[in-house]
């Protein structure tokens, strides 16, 4: 179709159809006109606008009933004209507006007439919509004069009726959209921005419609879900737009006191106009509040997320525009938004968060006291209900309740202090938190799980202080706990820290029931105050004052580490805690004079149950976690607090309860990280002065000694030799403390002494031990070498020499001393090294050796302690001391001399266990004090040992497989294993060796347990080293596999009692040994020299 660009051409084209239409108003004619319109350009049509509209309007105005289809096509045609043109005349706009509205109105006379068709309604609505868009800015405003109020009202009510009652979704939506345009809140950007005055005018005008609109819309919103989400969304949007306009704080603030007088001719209209004075505002706000409540209730649980999203927008819009006028409604509105933060739909969630953020950032709450009041009121009522809700709700319910609480707090932001300053609010809130956080303390495992002994050194970079998983009485969901954490942190972030800490410290000390929860809350508060892990909406107004934080932390730490709160009964260990406990009371009573008297109350408590112990364990853990938190918060600043905090934590790291020691290790790791230490070892090393101070002071109190020694123990395990100068004086303290309480504390202190000595041996002992080994193997080698020579160059001259020597030796032995000078000359070189060893003895002993000597001194006293445990421990310590004093023979020997009598008693008349250990000590001692021990050993001990071996042998020979688990077996084994080397070390005399050999021989029996046989073999192997010849003889007398031919007929034939014996139980082992002996001494069978050896 041709396009008519010029008005003339267009006129030419349109005129016939217009005329036609004027003549006969038929659907066909209208359609023709419409068809022609399509060919006319916009500009041309603008010129002809009124001309074209005329027949259309005329057709509409014709009185009498009209065909619906005709009306519909007319309206559509008008609509398409308007869509292409602008309405530039006010009259035209008004007339068109009213004409279109009339189309929608039901015929006044016949109420019962058939309702209009849906298509028609839709067409009219769309036409109205188009009309509103085609009107010029100024022109459209003419519609919003008071004089047009009735007309507007008419339109509004029509559209509302449609929106509410119409079934068709499309109509509903269009009607609502049209209404939105009508109240000048169209979504599209084409409209002119109204200035303030104009807006004010419109507001005045729309105020008249507000009741109708709001009521109807609220019905639409709360309507049947089946209507779909779109109408609801539109209705919500329209609702907040109109309310936001009419109730805007900005506008209301400008309303004059009294109503404006309109010219007289408008008096009737004037009655319709509403004056938005304060009374009106108040009553309207009340009514709106009800409606909003209804809206919020229905839409916050609407299944479709877009509806919920729109609700968020509603709150956002109203909060931005009407935060004062609608203040009473915000309790519902904020609740809705805050609750929707955890909406299942992520878009709703994020929008919610943004809106909340916006609210916070614009300080809407902060600047609006009333709103803050509303929030705090909400908070109060929520806090009141919280314990009940936590009891009754399931975990999901708890999550939503708590997120509501969290939301309120976040929204209040810096205004939280209003709430906190009110005692009842704070009390409600804290009680609720404390109740919710109640731990479940029924788990027996917590109490039972013990640390495996002995504790290894604290690992490098222990698992970073992750909080221990806690079990709560009222919930299991982790999310709930996280929310509670956030609640506390937000409180800490915004709240007055001193106030909060004071309050919760009060709860902490008020009752044991609240203590754990209060501690947990305190920890989180501090974290929050430092801004660690807080999820906040707006920055706090006053930045954190580090000194305040430090002050609070210090006071909390003091409370945590108070005797009454730090040292709790966590086990019923008979070994340790029972004496400790009673002493604890004693110690506390002593302290009570100076400190708080509340401690004394503890002593009257009923006997501990598993439940209380569990609870105590948790309390300690929570407090330990707190220490970790505080360190993390203060960073390097925490180093100053290590003075008082490190010792108690370390004490707990050595606790026997697994949970506590693990937590303490975590705390140590936290401290390391916070204070910039590379490892726990580093931490301990660099703060050893603090630790030593605490240890030494604690050692002065009998009751604290076990714990102090535990820490010293831990320190020693985790440190190196550089620690020694510092701890020297503490070890002296330990020793003097031990001197004062041999009876009661011996086992405690022995543990310390043991770790002291272990540490010393580890730090200083190693090289000398190696050296010793070296020396020893040298000796062995030289012996082997000399024997090697022996073997290779055995000549007749040598045999001769041997006899000569033998004869002269024998003569000397008989007292016939030949040339004395020669002897002396021989001994001179021997005497030389002695002075040098003397000077060595005079040189000051290194301090570690001195310590070892001092410790050894105590061991002498304790060796005859009544308790076997103690004696065993002493023997262990003694062994370490001996090892330590190895290089200082001059000091070791006198000590050994003093130890000897007590040690002998252990060896010959004590529990087998003690004998076992004592024998080990003896072996160690033998490494250095060979000569010293030889005599005494053979005199005091040997016969006893051999006789015990002999007497036990029949029993072990008879015994079954279970025997190897008995103590007697272990003792036999140890003796057999040790005797050989002992004999070798001590360089025992012949008769003693024979005694040993005799005792051990029966253990070569095949009837003996294999292990004992092996051990007995080892004895003989050692004996072979000391005296191969006699051993050979001894063994050969038992069993001799081969005959020996004398090398010369002048010598008597060899006769050994073992020759030709029948095979017996000893045969196998003896043969084996003889074989070994052969290997050792050389390959071939023994030569005649053997027989000639003195026996």
């Amino acid at each position: 179709m041709a396009v008519f660009d010029t008005p003339q051409a267009a006129f030419g084209a349109l005129r016939p159809v217009c005329v036609q239409l004027t003549r006969a108003q038929t659907v066909e004619n209208v359609r023709q006109l419409q068809a022609h319109l399509a060919g006319v350009s916009g500009a041309a049509l603008q010129e002809l606008q009124e001309y074209v509209l005329f027949p259309l309007r005329f057709a509409l105005r014709v009185p009498g009933p009209k065909q619906e289809r005709l009306v519909q096509s007319l309206v559509q045609c008008i609509s398409s004209v308007l869509a292409a043109t602008c309405v530039k005349k006010q009259e035209l706009l008004q007339e068109l507006f009213s004409e279109l509205c009339t189309c929608l109105a039901p015929p006044p006379s016949s109420v019962k007439a058939a309702p209009l068709s849906e298509e028609l309604k839709l067409a009219v609505i769309q036409a109205l919509h188009t009309l509103m868009h085609s009107a010029y800015g100024d022109v459209i405003l003419s519609l919003y004069r008071p004089s047009s109020l009735p007309l507007l009202g008419f339109a509004v009510s029509l559209l509302l009726t449609l929106a509410e009652q119409e079934k068709a979704k499309q109509i509903k939506i269009s009607a609502l959209e049209c209404l939105q345009v009508l109240v000048l809140q169209c979504d599209c950007q084409e409209h002119r921005q109204l200035d303030e005055d104009e807006e004010q005018q419109c507001g005045d005008l729309f105020a008249s419609f507000l009741p109708g609109i709001s009521i109807t819309l609220s019905r639409v919103i709360a309507g049947d879900i089946k209507q779909g989400h779109k109408p609801t969304v539109s209705a919500i949007r329209l609702f907040y737009l109109i309310v936001g306009l009419v109730m805007a704080d900005k506008q209301l603030a400008r309303i004059p006191k009294s109503k404006e007088k309109l010219p007289v001719e408008h008096s009737r209209i004037s009655e319709l106009m509403i004056h938005r004075g304060s009374d009106w505002t108040k009553s309207t706000a009340e009514k709106l509040s009800l409606l909003l409540h209804k809206v919020v209730e229905s839409s916050s649980v609407h299944p479709h997320w877009k509806v919920r999203l729109e609700l968020v927008e509603l709150v956002h819009h109203l909060l931005r525009n009407c935060s004062q006028s609608l203040v009473d409604s915000f309790s519902h509105l904020l609740k809705a938004v805050v609750g929707l933060v955890n909406d299942e739909n992520s878009e709703v969630q994020s929008r919610c968060n943004k809106v909340l953020q916006g609210i916070a950032e614009q300080r809407i709450v902060a600047q609006n006291r009333a709103l803050a009041d509303v929030l705090s009121e909400n908070l109060h009522s929520l806090a009141t209900a919280l314990p009940r809700l936590m009891n009754s709700q399931d975990d999901m319910g708890k999550v939503s309740t708590l997120s509501l609480l969290l939301g309120y707090l976040k929204l209040l932001g810096p205004k939280i202090n209003i709430v906190l300053n009110s005692v009842s609010h704070l009390q409600r809130l804290s009680k609720a938190l404390v109740q919710v956080l109640e731990l479940d303390v029924t788990d027996v495992k917590i109490v039972e799980a013990r640390r495996s002994e002995p504790p290894g050194p604290l690992q490098q970079g222990v698992q970073k202080g992750r909080c221990q998983k806690k079990y709560f009485r009222f919930f299991t969901e982790e999310k709930v706990f996280q929310l509670l954490q956030q609640v506390c942190r937000v409180l800490g972030y915004y709240g007055n820290l001193y106030l909060l800490v004071d309050h919760f410290m009060g709860l902490y000390s008020e009752s044991g029931l609240y203590r754990k929860q209060a501690a947990m809350i305190l920890n989180e508060l501090v974290m929050g105050a430092a801004g660690v892990g807080v999820d906040f909406l707006q920055e706090r107004e006053v930045p954190l004052n580090v000194d305040d934080l430090k002050g609070s932390i210090t006071s909390i730490l003091d409370e945590y580490m108070d005797q009454a709160n730090w040292y709790l009964v966590t086990s019923v260990d008979t070994e340790e805690s029972s004496p400790e406990q009673s002493e604890q009371h004693l110690g506390l009573a002593v302290r009570a004079g100076g400190a708080s008297s509340s401690i004394l109350l503890q002593s009257s408590e009923p006997p501990v149950t598993t439940r209380t112990m569990n609870s105590n364990i948790w309390q300690i853990c929570i407090q330990l976690e707190g220490v970790g938190c505080f360190a993390a918060v203060l960073g390097k600043e925490f180093r100053l607090l290590l003075l008082s905090a490190l010792y108690p934590v370390l004490e707990k790291a050595g606790d026997r309860t697994l949970l506590i020691s693990e937590t303490a290790l975590g705390t140590l790791a936290d401290i390391c990280e916070a204070c910039g230490y590379d490892s726990v070892q580093c931490l301990i090393n660099e703060n050893s002065d603090y630790l030593v101070n605490s240890i030494s002071l604690n050692l002065r109190q009998l009751a604290y000694q076990p714990r102090a020694s535990q820490v010293l123990d831990t320190m020693l395990r985790n440190s190196d030799a550089s620690l020694l100068p510092l701890i020297e004086d503490v070890i002296q303290d330990v020793l003097s403390a031990l001197d004062q309480s041999y009876n009661s504390q011996a086992s405690t202190f022995l543990r310390v002494l043991h770790s002291v000595m272990t540490a010393l041996v580890q730090w200083f002992g190693m090289p000398s031990a190696e050296e010793h080994q070296q020396r020893h193997s040298d000796k062995g080698q030289s012996r082997a070498r000399s024997q090697g020579q022996h073997k290779v160059t055995m000549t007749s001259q040598e045999v001769e020499q041997f006899f000569l020597d033998y004869v002269s030796q024998k003569r000397i032995a008989e007292g016939d001393l030949p040339d004395l000078e020669e002897e002396e000359a021989d001994e001179i070189p021997l005497a030389k090294p002695e002075p040098s060893s003397d000077t060595e003895g005079e040189a000051p002993m290194p301090s570690h050796a001195q310590l070892a000597r001092d410790v050894m001194e105590r061991c002498i006293h304790l060796l005859s302690d009544g308790s076997l445990r103690v004696r065993l421990k002493v023997l262990d310590v003694l062994e370490l001391c001996v090892t330590m004093l190895h290089p200082h023979g001059n000091h070791l020997l006198p000590m050994a001399h003093r130890v000897w009598p007590a040690l002998v008693t252990r060896l010959i008349s004590d529990d087998p266990l003690a004998v076992l250990r004592a024998f080990k000590v003896l072996c160690t001692l033998a490494q250095t004090c060979g000569d010293f021990l030889r005599q005494r050993f053979s005199k005091d001990v040997l016969s006893k040992l051999t006789s015990s071996l002999l007497s036990q042998a029949p029993a072990s020979a008879r015994a079954g497989p279970v025997y190897s688990h008995t103590l007697a077996f272990k003792l036999q084994l140890a003796l057999l294993q040790g005797l050989g080397s002992l004999c070798e070390r001590l360089d025992m005399g012949e008769s003693d060796l024979n005694k040993v050999a005799d005792a051990c021989l029966i253990y070569l029996s095949a009837k003996q347990p294999v292990k004992l046989q092996e051990a007995a073999q080892s004895v003989f192997l050692h004996l072979m080293h000391v005296d191969p010849d006699s051993t050979w003889l001894l063994l050969s007398e038992v069993c001799c596999p081969e005959g020996y031919e004398p090398p010369h007929p002048s010598l008597r034939p060899v006769k050994l009692s073992g020759m030709g014996r029948p095979r017996n139980e000893l045969t196998d082992n003896v043969l084996l040994l003889l074989q070994r002996l052969q290997q050792q001494e050389g390959t071939g069978p023994r030569t005649s020299t053997q027989e000639a050896s003195p026996s």
Binding site: G593, L643, D689, Y690, N693, R700, D729, S736
Partner: protein, 333 residues
């Protein structure tokens, strides 16, 4: 009273400072500064080091080495923690500048004195001090003005007095601007009151049979106390005629007092004993209040802190066992 004492066991030290690695001979607090100032404790030890202890961290901030590794037996501050005076067995008295982290000796006085007599310092005007010290010749005490080091006078006992060496000195004045007076304890056990401006002995009192080891004087009550190697504490007073009179003696359990200090508020006093113990007495009636038992060797010195708040007040004792024990005791009274 006795029952109360028995009910309350003697307290433990608040903390113990370790690390001088030598016997401690002298202590001096500097805690009077306003808040940001860190409270300090100066200690002088036998190895010639002066350790500056930070009482917040309980660690050594600085170790000053100015006496050639010879024992330091007197440390005093001069009007603040930045100026320090120290006396050592190298026969020198050093003046230190410690401001802004400096550790330099600004000036020194060669005493030529061979004994152990600690010098005594008295502030007479802003930036002007009098210092009494044992001089080279055996019985003399010399008074110098600091920082100019000009000699004010030399106090010589009358010929034939046979007082022996001065053992301890206490320079004081009744009020600011009045005549400075010196109390000196001598080897023969007597205490002599000297008028410094006239250079004349005003009064002499034989308090002890043995050398006077230490003395302190309360100018308000005009009463002083001295200790020697005997088992006796001697309390004496100064009457209006400027005569020293024995007021009272107090018998001790163990012999030997190496130092006596009256707390600045004149309520209690502390003694350092050869028996390893620190004893606290009320100054008014010399009632024994506490025996502090911590050290394992002779206690060489006791010192009270100059904290501005009485609650913070501390007592420190240095001992031959190389430790410095710090006590918070009777802080409230």
């Amino acid at each position: 009273m006795l029952t109360v004492l028995m009910a309350l066991p003697p307290p433990d030290p608040q903390f113990v400072l370790r690390g001088t690695s030598a016997p401690v001979h002298t202590l001096h607090f500097s805690c009077g500064g306003p808040e940001p100032d860190i409270p300090l404790l100066f200690s002088g030890s036998e190895n010639g080091f002066i350790h500056v202890w930070n009482l917040k961290t309980h660690r050594v901030d600085t170790a000053l080495d100015g006496h050639g590794r010879k024992s330091v037996y007197c440390v005093e501050t001069m009007g603040g923690k930045d100026r320090l005076l120290s006396q050592g067995r190298d026969q020198r008295i050093c003046l230190w500048d410690l401001a802004e982290g400096r550790t330099s000796v600004t000036d020194s006085v060669f005493t030529e004195h061979m004994g152990f007599c600690r010098c005594s310092l008295l502030k007479v005007a802003q930036g002007r001090w009098l210092m009494a010290m044992a001089a080279r010749s055996l019985e003399e005490v010399q008074i110098l003005e600091l920082p100019s080091k000009t000699s004010v006078c030399t106090l010589k006992p009358e010929v034939g007095a046979k007082l022996g060496m001065p053992m301890c000195l206490k320079l004081w004045q009744l009020s600011c601007g009045s005549q400075p007076v010196l109390l000196a304890g001598y080897e023969d056990g007597s205490v002599v009151l000297w008028n410094v401006s006239m250079g004349k002995a005003l009064s002499q009192l034989s308090c002890h049979q043995e050398p006077v080891m230490s003395l302190d004087f309360d100018s308000e009550k005009a009463k002083g106390i001295s200790g020697s190697s005997e088992k006796v504490l001697s309390i004496w007073c100064l009457n209006e005629q400027q005569n020293l009179q024995v007021y009272k003696t107090h018998e001790l359990v163990n012999a030997g007092i190496s130092d006596i200090t009256i707390r600045p508020d004149k309520k209690i006093l502390a003694t350092a004993g050869w028996d390893h113990r620190i004893r606290i007495f009320s100054w008014k009636k010399l009632k024994p209040l506490a025996v502090l038992d911590y050290h394992t060797a002779t206690v060489h010195c006791v010192s009270f802190s100059d904290h501005s708040s009485p609650w913070d007040r501390l007592l420190a004792a240095g001992s031959k066992d190389q430790r410095i024990s710090v006590w918070s005791i009777y802080a409230q009274t």
